[in-house]
């Protein structure tokens, strides 16, 4: 059975802090790993990672994949209250582009 485990499940920080969210996986036929941000409604895409060791960066957010140790991290620097959301990790497995999601990390950034 494919598994995607995110940690921590919830996190409370103050504005300006740096946070690291973790995603580990045990799947057959790994193809890619994706990160999404979910505020009040639909998840929105952040990153897609396919190669080990190559950092993807967008503003204050960055992510990296380790295919040997089967995990990825999502870093957010200088957090803002607008970063408060559920962050979802998903792994693409097999053919037909199916995604298996972790349970998410609820990040709360207090002013």
């Amino acid at each position: 059975e494919d598994k995607v485990v995110q940690s921590p499940l919830s996190l409370v920080v103050h504005e300006g802090d740096t946070v690291t969210l973790n995603c580990s996986y045990e799947v057959t036929n790994f193809r890619s790993l994706l990160w999404y941000k979910q505020e009040k409604k639909a998840p929105t895409f952040l990153f897609m990672l396919t190669s080990s060791g190559i950092e993807k960066k967008s503003g204050r957010l960055s992510s990296i994949l380790d295919k040997k140790e089967l995990f990825s991290i999502l870093n957010i620097t200088a957090t803002q209250t607008g970063d408060s959301a559920i962050y979802l990790c998903a792994v693409e497995v097999g053919s037909n582009y199916k995604l298996t999601f972790g349970k998410g990390t609820l990040l709360t950034v207090n002013p």
Partner: protein, 114 residues
Amino acid sequence: DAGITQSPRHKVTETGTPVTLRCHQTENHRYMYWYRQDPGHGLRLIHYSYGVKDTDKGEVSDGYSVSRSKTEDFLLTLESATSSQTSVYFCAISAWGENTGELFFGEGSRLTVL
């Protein structure tokens, strides 16, 4: 924003009644998905489609059926709704193979089964 709409957005129904949720896209994407999201479980795949009349089961397909008679519409049917199917349902579309694996999600349909 991706052209994807779900209807209805909210529905309350009684146990044993049939329910159909509709997902409509204007992007002409090949792949469409139905997920449900529940506290403590995250997003779980119910069914997906990789073309007109081509569908397959996801990890939580029991009690659900789908149909895709044209590219733009993907219907999710609960033949006889149960309280365990109370959830938020998300439709998603994807342009896999076009340099991205990004899923675009609809706004969600909140279903309550009494």
